[in-house]
Amino acid sequence: MGISHVLFILFSVLILGGGVMVVTRRNLVQAAGALILTLFGVAGLYVLLEAGFLAAVQILIYIGAIAILIIFAVMLTRRLADEQEPGLNSQWAWALGTAVMALAILVIVIQGTWPLAGGVVGNAPPLTGDSTSRLGVALLSPEQYAFPFEVASVLLLSAMLGAIVIAREKRH
């Protein structure tokens, strides 16, 4: 058990505690705050996995953009009677059963291939070179991922246009 295990458990508690609050909090602003906690924990896991660029992007895009966008949407769509209404619908027990069953299946599958009892020290192969610069080269070299990179930019542009058109006030 090294420092990375302690950090892993800390980030996991952040992720799962935040996740539970996201799906159970009635107040959506508090749920969005818990979502930020969860996203921060995921960024911590990226750091532990030596994907520093992804951790930075996670904080910039997810916490800086998506979480703030969600908070804006909560503020713009809040009803006055929001606090008195139940946060969960009438089929929440079925949803809980579905989630628990999916978790059981996933745990069984993971235990079958990568058992938890395999020891507390992982045997990952060593990382050669700087993963950020290798990611940059992979994204921009034409024989690797330059085409998906360009498609992603077109997708972002069309999503931006679509969001503007959908959310625009209709003036007659």
């Binding site: 539970v20 799906v23 992804l54 969600i70 949407a73 619908n89 992982g122 050669t128 690797q144 991922y145």
Partner: protein, 102 residues
């Protein structure tokens, strides 16, 4: 180094929390938060498999970046839909959005 199975367990739990959120919440914005949880669980898996199985190939991280892009697009369009529905129907509770129900 933390073993791969620990990451997989955490991401499985996070994914199931997201499933519960999507199925059980009444507010459309909260449902979108549930999908964000599920996308993050998938991202943890992608990066964990990249680091533990093939750190020499960058596919895992590139896939994660693509998921970021799709998540950003999904959040932008989804929240724009929520705002449009709110301005026309006065609610974002999914049970009240029954225009297509016969």
């Amino acid at each position: 180094m933390v073993p791969l199975s620990w990451y997989l367990m955490v991401s499985a739990a996070l994914f199931c929390l997201g499933i519960f959120g999507v199925l059980a919440r009444r507010n459309a914005v909260a449902i979108l938060m549930g999908t964000e949880l599920m996308l993050n669980a998938a991202n943890i898996n992608l990066v964990a498999f990249w680091r533990h199985l093939r750190p020499d190939v960058m596919s895992g991280q590139v896939f994660t970046l693509m998921v970021f892009v799709v998540a950003a697009a999904e959040a932008a369009v989804g929240l724009a839909l929520c705002i449009a529905i709110y301005s026309s129907r006065g609610t974002v509770v999914v049970e009240d959005m029954d225009l297509l129900k016969g």
